[in-house]
């Protein structure tokens, strides 16, 4: 799956000559179908979240977000993302560098392994850490003797989140760096640049958009992960509940409005990062 998730809204694209585009009505019908589909599948659920969230008024909305349990969940979610995202970013850059700039055997297997967390059921991703670090798990007794708590605590939540978000940055960078080739780096190297210099001054400027986008997606997914974290969290109120788990708890307590209010918080976090990204992207492209 080279070239996933890359977006460059090419401005020229819309100015295609008449003979290689569709006639006006066809164009609008296609746009209408696409929007209708998106509306039904993506927009409507989002809308319903906001409608439910504000059903009982703005007061309830603000209260449910200011609730200490919600705040501690928010804090845990941000802490988790703050650890998981940089880790996966460093990994993503290293993996993309190795894969795109060098030739070696088994590259396909390596790429497949990086992809694997995309396809593993979240239930399994959580379960594997229980199998490893749980009290009955392979390493459990050893850890227990030393008083180290991994699952049902922050480390377990971070591990499960890292697992789920491993592919995002790497998968975003690999096609970019492959397309970019090695000429520039080789030129820099022949001019006597050292390894890190080459990376900072030549490679990074070229991949920064892909990198930024990968980080944004990785972050969004890290904050929103539910299934895997649910298995390793232990659901202790105010302690090991992340935002998505807090949403579930509120829902199970029949506090539907509060639950959707917290959910809308997550949606807004995601929307804001995505909008910021397109603004930054647009600004930079208009500079050229």
């Amino acid at each position: 799956m080279a070239g996933t998730i890359t977006v460059h809204l090419n401005k020229e694209a819309s100015k295609r000559p008449e003979h290689v585009t569709e006639s006006g009505p066809v164009r609008w019908i296609l746009i209408a179908i696409a929007l209708l589909f998106l509306g039904l599948i993506v927009v409507l659920p989002l809308l319903s979240i906001f409608v439910e969230a504000f059903k009982k008024g703005v007061g309830v909305y603000i209260d449910s977000i200011k609730d200490p349990d919600a705040m501690s969940a928010l804090k845990l979610t941000l802490t988790t993302a703050l650890i998981a995202v940089p880790l996966n970013t460093v990994f993503g850059i290293a993996a993309a560098w190795a894969i795109s700039k060098f030739r070696f055997r088994g590259k396909n297997i390596l790429i497949t392994l990086i992809d694997l967390p995309f396809a593993v059921s979240p239930v399994i991703s959580g379960m594997v850490y229980v199998l490893l670090f749980g009290a009955q798990g392979f390493l459990g007794p050893w850890l227990d003797d030393r008083g180290i708590q991994i699952i049902f605590a922050l480390p377990g939540i971070v591990l499960a989140t890292v697992f789920v978000t491993v592919p995002f940055v790497a998968r975003e960078l690999i096609p970019h760096m492959q397309a970019q080739g090695v000429q520039e780096e080789e030129a820099a190297s022949s001019l006597g640049a050292k390894g890190w210099q080459i990376f900072w001054r030549v490679t990074l400027p070229n991949i920064k958009w892909g990198l930024l986008y990968g980080i944004i997606l990785c972050n969004a997914r890290a904050m929103g992960e539910f299934g895997a974290v649910s298995v390793v969290s232990g659901h202790i109120r105010g302690e090991t509940n992340t935002l998505p788990l807090h949403i579930e708890i509120l829902y199970n307590e029949y506090q539907f409005s509060a639950s959707f209010a917290v959910a809308s918080l997550l949606v807004m976090l995601a929307v804001v990062t995505l909008i910021v990204k397109s603004i930054v992207e647009w600004k930079s492209s208009s500079q050229h």
Binding site: M1, L9, N108, E186, G195, L217
Partner: protein, 277 residues
Amino acid sequence: MKGSKPRNVLPGFGLSMGFTIFYLSVIVLIPLSAVLFKTFELSWPEFWKTVTSARVLAAYRVSFLTAFFAGLVNLVFGMLIAWVLVRYRFPGKKLIDSLVDLPFALPTAVAGIALTAIYAPNGWIGSYLAPLGIKVAYSPIGITIALIFIGLPFVVRTVQPVLQDLEKETEEAAVMLGAYRLRTFWKVILPELMPALVTGFAMAFARGIGEYGSVVFISGNMPLKTEITPLLIMTKLEQYDYAGATAIALVMLIVSFLMLLVINLLQWQMNRRTIAR
């Protein structure tokens, strides 16, 4: 551009490769191998009995069929959305483009609850469908809709860049040769998009088989009918049957891995062919 010659000039292979392997081992490989080791606690006949019991087989069928249909729907509409986003200009395009990523970001449970609320017989859409005798929530259709939601970004985001890079010249040549627009699409554009489409479909499919959070709310969880494989794993776990859970998990893992491997090999071959041309 993707020419491959020995690249010994560049530094950092040892470091980056070493770190990659180390990180993957710690985060992905060692944990996943735990599934394998736990399953070894079962004897072969026990394992076989677990993974081929009627309930489990029915769950595979539900998971694979719904993920397949969701993948197909996403294939068609995902391509359409990518097409519209790349080629046409219309107001609010940037916003729409950002919306495509939201299913990645939304907690799956929230998506599940929201979709159930909409498609339940008393929901916004469900209430119009119910009199027509169409049952969406608590049926395989509901599962499929949840999986369409989850898988949509995979297809759009795979097709988009390819469509962008598609050279105008090829299309123009086809037009000059007198091909109609639709024909150009079938004969020139679609073949170029094929690898990306296959990849997007496969990713959406693979993700769909494993999806749990959003599906449990909308599926109704009826054994043999709308019970999905990840739910069975969960059920076994809650019955304190770890080995049984890992046995089913192992089957799913192998299927996912093989599918991804095939895609990556396919992609690699197609890339080589393009270079050769």
